[in-house]
Subunit: 205 residues, 2 copies
Amino acid sequence: MPEPRFRRRKEDRPQEITEAALAAFAEKGYAATKVDEVAKRAGVSKGLLYLYFKTKEDLFKAVIRSFVVPKIDELTAIIDSSELTSEEFLRGPFLDFVKTLPGSPISVLVRLMISEGPKHPDLLQFYWENVVSRGLVALNVILERGIETGEFRRCVVHDLPHLFVMPVLFSVIFKLLFEKHCPDTDQLIEAQIDLLIAHMKGEIE
Amino acid sequence: MPEPRFRRRKEDRPQEITEAALAAFAEKGYAATKVDEVAKRAGVSKGLLYLYFKTKEDLFKAVIRSFVVPKIDELTAIIDSSELTSEEFLRGPFLDFVKTLPGSPISVLVRLMISEGPKHPDLLQFYWENVVSRGLVALNVILERGIETGEFRRCVVHDLPHLFVMPVLFSVIFKLLFEKHCPDTDQLIEAQIDLLIAHMKGEIE
DNA sequence: TCACTTGCTGACCCACGAGTCATTAACTAT
DNA sequence: ATAGTTAATGACTCGTGGGTCAGCAAGTGA
């Protein structure tokens, strides 16, 4: 009895295809990745891929949406389930979380957003609303909590939670481009957080 | 007497073409830019472009090289011609210089490097040696000078001059992607420099 | 077992854009 | 003037890759 030439698995296909696409985009970038190549990686014909995704661009958007949102959900879940003080939280779970980002598959998505984002305003909108904005809000919650409990004094940092994100973005990109010359990203991120906390706790200069 | 159909201007063509290419790449990215389009912008035929640049990739590399090096030369020139203390220098000329970067045509090159860099290792090598590395060295010079004169105490910042560059890269990218939601990049950069200087001057916590 | 639905295939089409080259016309030197 | 040189043109080729579709075979139900 011969193995069937293929199996019908309508349920699993989309995820298998987006996973293959993520891997392919990661290696070659969006433009240089051929749809045929993605299909091959997913063990599927090009025709089938086009049954699930109308165009290559459509596939791209699906990739972004499906991998990035779970990641930010992770962060907000950590926050909600935590009873730590703000400083403990920033030095503990938050630090651990952001340290994992450079070098993870997620960093690939950042590169894709930078490369292709400007061509897809709707995607940028989505990314803003569901990732960046939510991340900044989450940080604000922590920082405000820190003021209420008297841990932190109010200062410029509370208007610029971006200061906490900077080293992560920097590390992701630096590692991507200059792996060989990249500083210890854990140390970089940690140093920045130390700096910020010291400033928020610190005496008025 | 009719205007000549074209003029022979061997000397000026390469620069005119790279300028046109920079503008085109800025708008559409590398892959989506057609060579024909670059030629049109430069007021030149595609054939001529191929007289000066062997391939599209060759043109791309020329663009990076010719616009990015002068910019870093600018920075090192400022350093050499300055007799200020380290703090004055960082808060004065250095701050002014980096503030101009987000939103300048140079920021486009950063995006191009991120998008296309991984496909061109030799270009990355060039960029590292002639831009990033030189920039970091320049910063180190300033910071060391600050220690010698007793302005600064030695701390983690001296091992991570990257901390000064982070907000610039962050601003460039943030502005590029989320113009609408972008914080005041001047303020962000300034805040980071304040933070770092305070820490370097500061009492041991 | 047989008709029927539908997930899946892969050969095909064709727009598109990188790179070529035979030809032209602007300069130059004598 | 005029012959020689070369900057410059633009119509062409040709590989490539996104997208299609007629047909096939795995599942389904009676």
